[in-house]
Symmetry: C2
Subunit: 397 residues, 2 copies
């Protein structure tokens, strides 16, 4: 283990603020006592503000994938037609869960690196309606972590509702919610899932799931089996300040503190910070020869995917980065060996991104790769970050 | 919040040693990098030693109930005859999970406070065999947390195998394994589940599950749906030092440290310590007028359930205890208001039990209840603890 700093820039888990780390070290309490009851109340109302919902938000002890499973099994029955909009590995995963539980899944696969278009979604939904099997649910990915694309959820939701007003909108918002503008109620989303290790600056182990009244009504009819992920049980317990099964108390301590930190900064400032980090990462990586993988208008402000320059092997680059203390993520699925992914969400500033770029530049030089001018990428990143402040706050919605 | 010490004596989460708490405060790492890979390897082999198994032990991000769900859904198909031996609320829960996923569950319900008897199990299995629907699996609870009973798993397993040699033995060992003698392989158990917040002195959020080769073979045929809890995916990832979904990294840090502490103490010493704590709790509570709820030969050494004396309301007692810093658990299900439950597992010594008894005594006096002689219960507890060291180590098996 190196005594030098480790810069963790994967798309979750993200680094933790000291106050969050310290909360994770607290002594245990009774998860069915008054302290936990107060904590769960605070966390739930803070999450409602973060999700921008007046409806239920439930906290499950699981990683984000468990939250996705909850979104599926509570609201669907085997055989239900489902439209899964997939823009990458996580969209595929959401579809796979639905299929595993017997949903009749139609996949709208979008080329990796591109965002789903509302018009294409309207067509796909329209085809299902015309075929006499309108979708009971539509699965959407907000921020596709495998490709660095943020899908236009507001537009997709509107397009879907216009064609199939009764379809439930189930949204994987794991790696975006909290860091970029998101409106659960205003966009008419029925179930929204996020995970503690992403924008929330908390260790992994909690999934947070919002449920609309429409989704609750569906839960009463849904026949897919569930016990651990039964959201009705979670709702019943939550009314009493508890969870049906023993919760991850230590992670809940951390989340409680992190949400206070986030509200102290303010979501508008958090969104601006992520916009600046995203702009810096994209500009800096481009200046270092890593072409953007995501189409520019939909590039994520929480994770940047960029193509490796010709002739540069990921294994070589990654080894040179690790030696210098930078931890990035490689490609997933079909993009293994073709892209790198830099996480810049949660506890991160433009300065962290600049340091990461500096380390990448040093690694490239060490590997004998051409670098235009020492530090030029850092300048480009800073300029892009500064320029990003001119973008209005709601623009990435 | 009181500035005075809080004595947490519920049957999990248990108090944490300082080194474990500190581990929970560590900065995040890449869960798909070399440090986590090494950690998962250490944890897995230490768990294999603790479970006394040479087969797979998988770490899931979930509370114990999630581990029980994994035990069911990976090895059974809808319609499979299953015999659920229930000695309390957690046995009922295990049965409920199987039924929710479509198993054809026959319940062998044992009166609360009593242990399941091998002869009764043999009869119940025999009836199913005679009826032409031999059980595909038998669900057993090792330590029934709701009643403070430790079931004789070795004898039950032997009896089951004699009548239905092909039945899988799925065991909820959540609140006993690690603290009292347990033999996964020698007893022929197919799936064994435990949870991080019990004997392991770690915050809740990880379930640990062992899987026998027989159970793996069944997993290939099992038709119950599963994704998040798919143990085959966990096994595939574990071979590469990873988990299929982002794990609760912070809790894994804590478990890694706790297992080192446990091996430093040694399992024989840990078992003796829990035997002494159990003996102390039972003797002390009896001296204070709380009759034992569990039948004596099967009283648990990790949690003691005792009947409230006539005329003493749990709400009054609990309030008087909390004021004095003692946190106990009340009854569950049909025993709400009738029993108290004192956890004494994990990071606990006889001295902790004596302090808890002292606080109960003080609360009784404050409530105007008769107390024989101030401190007599503490003496009784200490004498019982001392006497417990005469019991051979394997006796509770």
């Amino acid at each position: 283990m190196s005594p030098l700093p480790i810069r963790l820039h994967i798309p979750g888990p993200t680094p933790l603020p000291d106050a969050v780390r310290e909360a994770g070290a607290r002594q245990m309490i009774n998860h069915r006592g008054p302290e936990f009851r107060a904590l769960l109340g605070r966390v739930t109302t803070a999450l409602q503000r973060a999700f921008r919902t007046e409806h239920d938000v439930l906290v499950l002890t699981a990683s984000g994938t468990g939250g996705l499973e909850a979104a599926i099994v509570n609201h669907l029955s085997p055989g239900d037609p489902v439209l899964a909009v997939s823009t990458g590995a996580f969209g595929d995963r959401f579809a796979k869960i639905a299929a595993a539980y017997g949903a009749d899944v139609t996949k709208m696969a979008v080329e990796w690196g591109r965002a789903a278009r509302p018009a294409d979604l309207a067509s796909a939904v329209g085809e299902m309606v015309a075929a006499g099997r309108p979708p009971v649910a539509i699965l959407l990915t907000h921020n596709e972590t495998s490709t660095g694309v943020t899908n236009p959820i507001a537009g997709l939701a509107e397009a879907a509702r216009a064609v199939a007003p009764d379809a439930l909108l189930l949204v994987d918002a794991i790696s975006g919610l909290g860091a970029v503008p998101f409106e659960t109620d205003a966009w008419g989303l029925d179930v929204v899932v996020t995970g503690s290790q992403k924008s929330w600056m908390v260790p992994p182990g909690l999934a947070m799931v919002s449920v609309s009244p429409r989704a609750w009504a569906a839960a009463e009819q849904a026949l897919m089996p569930r016990v651990y992920f039964d959201l009705r049980a979670a709702r019943t317990s939550a009314a009493n300040g508890e969870t049906p099964w023993t919760p991850a108390v230590g992670i809940a301590f951390a989340l409680d503190v992190a949400l206070v930190l986030m509200e102290a900064e303010g979501y508008a400032a958090i969104h601006a910070r992520h916009r600046a980090c995203g702009a810096a990462a994209r500009a800096g990586l481009a200046a270092l020869g890593f072409a953007p993988f995501a189409e520019p208008d939909y590039a994520s402000n929480t994770v940047t995917a960029a193509l490796l320059p010709d002739g540069l092997a990921w294994s070589d680059l990654n080894a040179a980065l690790k030696t210098r203390g930078l931890v990035l993520a490689g490609g997933q699925g079909k993009m293994v060996g073709h892209i790198l992914r830099m996480g810049h969400l949660g506890f991160v500033t433009v300065d962290d991104v600049v340091v990461a770029l500096s380390i990448i530049e040093a690694a490239l030089i060490a590997l004998g790769r051409p670098v235009e001018e020492r530090g030029a990428a850092l300048s480009a990143a800073l300029r892009a970050a500064d320029a990003s402040t001119a973008i209005p706050a709601g623009a990435t919605a």
